[in-house]
Amino acid sequence: MKPATTVLGEGPEQAESWRQAMDSGELLLVAAAGMLVVAAVAQTAAVGLVQPRIALAFGALICFGEVLRLSLEGGREAAPIGSAGAFGYAVVLTVGGSRATQPALQVIAVVAAGMVLGALPHLAAGRPAGLAGMASRLIAVAVVAALFRPLSTIVTITRPRDWGLALAAMAAVLVAGWWAECLIRALISADALQARFRVALWDEMRVQLPLGFAVAATAILIAFAADMMGLVALGVFIGPLLVTQMAFRRYAGIRATYLETVRALARVTEVGGYVEDGHARRVGRLAVVVGRELGMSEPELLELEYAALMHDIGQLSLRDPIPGGATVLASPQQQRRIAELGASVIDQAGVLDGVAEIVRYQSWPWRGQDLQPPVGSRIIRAANAFDDLVGSSAETSRTVAALEWLRLDTATEYDPQVVEALAKVAGRRRR
């Protein structure tokens, strides 16, 4: 089996490294966080560590949390236990009855030290250090510490009637910190993936909301519980957060397996000789990039990717393969039949209704019918035609010719917006 190279002249490995490589936005973020840490460490060293026992306990918790990092959907990284410890250190008021007096810069220095120590095992195991993720988490903590530490002399939780005020203040600064982190991550991903910023921000907030909620609540609980339980409160909280983390890890794991399986099984059409090698994957990747260019959100992109990977599954029901497997040259009736058969296969699953709908309407012209097909279908229609025409070749002339061919048919067949997005994406990746 020959390796599946993309239409855009980029193998899967290259696409991966392209994602992981540090781009300018990440570099800027890491540099800013680095400068912040240098300033915080210098200041803390100059005035000395306030309450070293507390600092050590929180630092250890943060380090532990960083070791147990977790990847969420879309390649995001989170360290819920570490973040809860860090936010807890930023908002803690009293420990075992006596006031906690660490200044904001000390919070930053301790959190940074814990994070760096916690990242070492990852480096030793040959995994990426995840500097950008650490930097965005650190900046979120810095925002919370800078806002809350000055308040810590005013707010108190020793009397029950002060609890309301303390709770409100903590909740407000934690929301601010969480939002800052989402903002930073959205800026980075919008920069790296050429996504729309507003969409990227929504995606970020959607993914980070449940864990962020748990982390913030835990941080507040740590702050309150430490008043009575002292540093034991930190130990008490490791248990429940570990459980949450385990659940999230399994969730992320099954999501990844799911996509992996659909990707692998989408190849049955290739092995069966119905379509050209690598066709499903290329269409899948191209559709996702075009969809992102058009401002689709991550859940929509996931549906689009599933649909694109499985768009030819209906061909399995044909007794004999279409010559060359290129549906672009098949008769409209046959195209529609394949789409209909594919959709009914996907309908069988009962859980992928959106995907089935996209597959069903992939053969429809974008205009001139009583019903306009969903945007996913329009994207797959164009991406499929493009790939049928260009194949695995990376020649510029073929790409240009294929785009020209698509443009000629934008009156009824292909959505001009989709075709323009495709042209833009193809041009960007070729360069």
Binding site: A217, T244, G272
Partner: protein, 466 residues
């Protein structure tokens, strides 16, 4: 905390419970009532729970909120909710008897689909495990009442023991119940739950520690603390729910894709799924562990994916095959491997797919392995595969009865099949039963194949000898 859900009772009356299960439910309920009665009769400290009516009310409400919003697990037969933390907090705040009462409020759960028997069982199960945990807590010197500065860290030891006792008894009681419900009746076998149990046990223990926190914050914050504590509980619930939903979606998608593969063949629908189920039955019977059973289920599901690489005209050919055509069919396990290799599977599952047409006597394909050289997964799938092929309708013959098919399995046991696995399959069949596919109403089309590569009673005919 684990509970039985109402799903099972939908469409079938509870009277379907076996006498053993009835007896068991009655015993658990009687034990709970006896403990409560004994406590009410002799406990001199009864004014404790009564004095703290307010705390009891809030705890009961909290418990009901947690208990009424459980997460259905993949098995659809049991559910998980974080309510154990509330009963554990009740142990610290109001003592074992109070905890029993809080646990028993599960009787009033607003969850849908629960009938009275299930409610009684759940309430008794919670009450008993809470009470036993409370007694353990007291025995180790755990203080009852609002904890203060002086309580820490001394309270942690007894509390941890109480948590372990609580979770163990809860899981144990429910496990026995699930064992008593015949697997065939409940749709999904208990295997799905078995896979989740270690994770649920740890989850429950982890969330048990929140119970200590509810108790600790109670003396300063009261109900307010309880609200704050709910947040992490429900996030965990959400995550576990998402996980279970994804897992179900995954299984459904896989099944649908495999069915797409079947349409190419003249197979009755659902062959892959039945082979998957049969393989899992054998695997459990020979004592494979949860992870391996899971892997073999997927391997069974995907075992024939490689047939897509075989031209349709060959698969459906009526009459003897040429040597080339036979070679194309022999290649299908390898092609299947090429497709699924990229899925992050256990290697064993891949070996199972590749070698499922090997024979014990060495005359199989693609490699001609013999005896123990054949991977265990492959030997298991071979038995289930042939059995389903024999008991399904084919264009050239009707479905054979289960007894006939078993006789045939025995006939080829030792030459084609591993005798130990045939015995295991027959034992599992006798116990769990087998759902034969409904005879498809399709008329044998022209040119339909009168042979089946899976079917030992109608082996492929090859023109030239080889």
């Amino acid at each position: 905390m684990l509970t039985g859900t109402g799903h099972r009772s939908r469409g079938e009356r509870i009277s379907k419970l076996s006498p053993g299960a009835w007896l068991y439910v009655a015993a658990v309920v009687a034990a709970a009532v006896a403990v409560l009665g004994q406590a009410l009769g002799t406990d001199p400290d009864l004014d404790g729970p009564v004095r703290q009516a307010w705390a009891m009310a809030v705890l009961a409400l909290l418990f009901l909120i947690c208990d009424s919003a459980p997460t259905t697990l993949a098995s659809r037969q049991s559910a998980w909710s974080p309510s154990s933390s509330v009963t554990l907090a009740a142990i610290v705040l109001v003592g074992p008897v109070g905890a029993l009462v809080v646990g028993a409020t599960s009787l009033l759960s607003v969850r849908r689909g629960l009938d009275l028997t299930q409610r009684l069982f759940n309430a008794s199960m919670y009450g008993l495990s809470a009470w036993a945990a409370g007694e353990a807590y007291l025995a180790l010197g755990g203080p009852v009442g609002h904890p203060g500065y002086h309580s820490f860290p001394g309270i942690i030891g007894p509390f941890a023991v109480a948590a372990v006792v609580h979770v163990s008894i809860n899981h144990g009681l429910l496990w026995c119940m699930l064992m008593l419900v015949p697997a065939a009746e409940s749709g999904q076998p208990a295997g799905a739950l078995q896979r989740h149990l270690p994770m649920l046990f740890l989850s429950d223990l982890g969330y048990a520690t929140i119970g200590l926190l509810i108790a600790a914050l109670w003396s300063v914050g009261g109900a307010f603390a309880a609200i704050l504590v709910l947040v992490p509980l429900f996030v965990a619930r959400w995550a576990i729910g998402q996980f279970a939903a994804q897992e179900r979606a995954y299984a459904a998608t896989m099944a649908a894709l495999c069915q797409a593969v079947e349409t190419k063949d003249c197979y009755t629908r659902g062959h892959s799924e039945r082979v998957s189920r049969g393989s899992a039955m054998i695997a459990r019977e020979v004592g494979m562990r949860g992870r391996r059973v899971e892997a073999i289920r997927y391997a069974g599901m995907l075992h024939d994916v490689g047939k897509l690489g075989v031209p349709t005209t060959v698969l459906q050919k009526n009459g003897a095959l040429s040597e080339e055509e036979y070679a194309a069919i022999q290649l299908h396990p390898m092609r299947g491997l090429a497709i699924v290799r990229e899925i992050g599977f256990l290697d064993e599952a891949l070996a199972g797919i590749m070698h499922h047409h090997e024979r014990i006597d060495g005359h199989g394909y693609p490699m001609g392995l013999a005896g123990d050289e054949i991977p265990e997964f492959a030997r298991v799938i071979a038995v289930a595969d042939a059995f389903d092929a024999m008991t399904s309708n084919r264009s050239y013959r009707g479905a054979r009865s289960i007894e006939e098919a078993i006789a045939d399995l025995r006939k080829w046991s030792g030459s084609q099949f591993d005798p130990a696995l045939v015995d295991a399959f027959v034992a599992a069949l006798r116990r769990e039963g087998w759902e034969q596919p409904r005879p498809a109403a399709m008329a044998p089309a022209d040119g339909m194949s009168a042979q089946d590569h899976d079917d030992p009673t109608a082996p492929l005919r090859v023109v030239e000898s080889w």
